[in-house]
Amino acid sequence: MSRPGFVLQVDDRTPPLVVHEGEGFRLERFPIGTRVVYPPESLPAVRDVDATIRHALLNPEGSEPLSELLRPGMRLTIAFDDISLPLPPMRKPDIRQRVIEQVLTMAAAAGVDDVALISANAVHRRLTPDELRAIVGERVFRSFFPQGLLYNHDAEDPDDLLHVGVTDRNEDVEINRRAAESDLLVYVNVNLVAMDGGHKSVPVGLASYKSLRPHHNSKTMVQSRSFMDPEKSHLHHSAIRMGRLLADHLRIFTIETTLNNDVFPAPYEFLNKREWEWSIRDQASMLAARRALGVAPRKVKRRVFHSLESPYGVTGVHAGETEAVHAKTLANVHRQQMVEVQGQTDVLVMGLPYLGPYNVNSVMNPILATCMGLGYYFNSYRGCPLVRQGGAVILYHPVPNEFSQLHHPSYVDFFEEVLAETTDPVAIEEKFEQSYATDPWYIHLYRTSYAYHGVHPFYMWYWAAHALDHVGDVVWVGADRHTVQRMGFRAASTLSDALEMVSGTVGRSPSLTYLHNPPHLIADVH
């Protein structure tokens, strides 16, 4: 039986707590009285995943069974979530592979010939063949990739985009042409966090830059409170409008899957546990890991961390009409991640791990770290933000001035050029977004190499817009001073220094809350 999440009050019996900081973690003794939000323990996984998938496909929500939607001579497109989900990547077989295999089995049985598989990466980088293989599995890969029928969505390919229409709010809906012109579009999702899935799958994952602009902008993001709560997220409202428009034009069969919180594989299971329950063995593994990380060169550390694969269990598979499916999926996600928290706090403390959605097999650069902390983690709330208006956020991450030239070329320029001038998301959007989004070099790299689109760093900064608007002070513990300064933040070497630094904003004895994440959690703040 898995225990629910809860809020720990640090007392004199509390052992030091793990705080993630990039490619490593530290033990931190929090001041007495600090609240620590722990996610619920892993829900039990379904026993027979394949049977669950089959059941979902044959008994869908608000739709005929998949097998009845398939007929010979039809045009079938299967789109799936890209490598940004789940985090860390799932131990093979990936859930998407298992779903796609069953969909294809049914399609083969129904005599469907015209099938294409598309990674719904929007303006994310293309996936390498190896990465595609890891997601869809060897069988699917071998059957489709060499024929060019398994490929990455290209948001800049004018020949492979179709303008479907505009919504009642005048939002352009332009998505992948192959998907839009299919008789049936099957979308296979991994719903790791509450912002994923639903109408965010097709209208966003397969969109062009033009179709992303209505919701991926600083104004929408400031008003998405939070973007982890689709009901209150303007981002999602826009996506839903687009999704409904698309649903009128195109038959979409959505398959959504949810995972439990088994994030850390052996021998790092101790990171999944509550610290006071660590056995001697856990303590020994922790010490060994800390020491090894202490001497390991950065490259080795990176390789070790990025080779982690999570032994996730599947907690649910739902299929059918997008909105009906997503309601069930969200319930599953909430069941796994929701923690009730009473009241806001003056200071919110968060430790950022080595991995975010956009640096799989890559470097978490300063902008991604900011997006991770002030975007994803800050927005992991429902109700009201965990930190009060004008409060302070303390983040743990080394934030080295390090970028992947391969994956994040536009980020470097964003950091050097844009952030040197201003850190205000609105001003940034106004002055620079267009020029980056249309820079032919970024477009070239996005389309032919493995680079994120030129506009992507802007989105990352918009992701943090709500937090930048809401909090009064941001201090990074253990960070590179110059790097965080460029982003408009300050660096401290220890937690006590950081508290000293924010005392001007929140006073001498602020209330502290530490978000013990990962594994993922959503704070339900009352």
């Binding site: 225990r3 629910p4 809860f6 809020v7 720990l8 009050q9 640090v10 007392d11 019996r13 509390t14 052992p15 030091p16 033990l27 003794r29 509550r274 610290e275 006071w276 329950e277 660590w278 303590q283 922790m286 010490l287 800390r290 020491r291 202490g294 001497v295």
Partner: protein, 306 residues
Amino acid sequence: MMTRFLRETADDVRMVARGWRWGRRPLVPRNAEPFVPEKEKYVFPTEWARRRPARALREVVQEVGLDPLLRSQVSPRVTGLDMLGRVSPPVLFVANHASHLDTPLILCTLPDAWRRRTSVAAAADYFFDTWWRATGSAIVFNTFPIERRGGSLSSTPGDLLGQGWNVVVFPEGTRSPDGWMGRFRMGAAWLAIEHGVPIVPVAIRGSFAAMPRGRSWPRPGRPPVTVRYGAPLSPGDGETAREFAPRVVAAMSQLLDEDRTTWWQAQLRAARKEIPDPSGPKVARWRRVWEQTAPPRVGRRTDVWR
């Protein structure tokens, strides 16, 4: 570089040692207490204690340490060993339990060949509470943990019987508070039926007088204790634990009576169903203790019955 690494290592170790209170009980933060999971039943592994190296070590400890020590502190008298000639291992030794002396008394009075193949069921919550007590008792007494608070019967005694080991069980589940025999639990009878092994009752008298609950060393003056092995009891065909258990209790009672008097008198009393209740008279507590703390008086000693 090296010194920095060492210094950080020392810091880490110190922090973990303090945070998790090495050598002491770990504590749970107060408001996390409602969320503490039920403690997983951790069974201390004792398999190793029945392997060759541990056996060799135990042989030395028992022969050179335990046996002389026991005999220097109490004067045990053992009777009825011939009963063992009538059965072959594995058997279940069932004894009354009044003192920590009982286990060493049984082990030291058994013939060597039997002793080497005998293991003792010990309370998991006491003997297997800490690793050092568990390790010590497993080496010296060849104990294995048994859950005395009911619940599922641990599978170990059955496994041991299956592997040909004799098992000592104290069906009272705990030492008697006043020296009189307590209520027997069904576990022993159930085991015997399940594994088709005979029960050898063992009556121990005087151990309470020598070292009752609360004492950690026998009374001075080498107090006498008697250990009497009784006739083996085998469960009949189709006999249930519920039927067999009273037979075991009766045999125990008779054996205690026999030790106090003579075999024949006990036989006669048994025939007349006049065996005194081994749980003692219903009188004031002090009188019960008083009677039990007297050194065991042995009935008319007739060599014939010895």
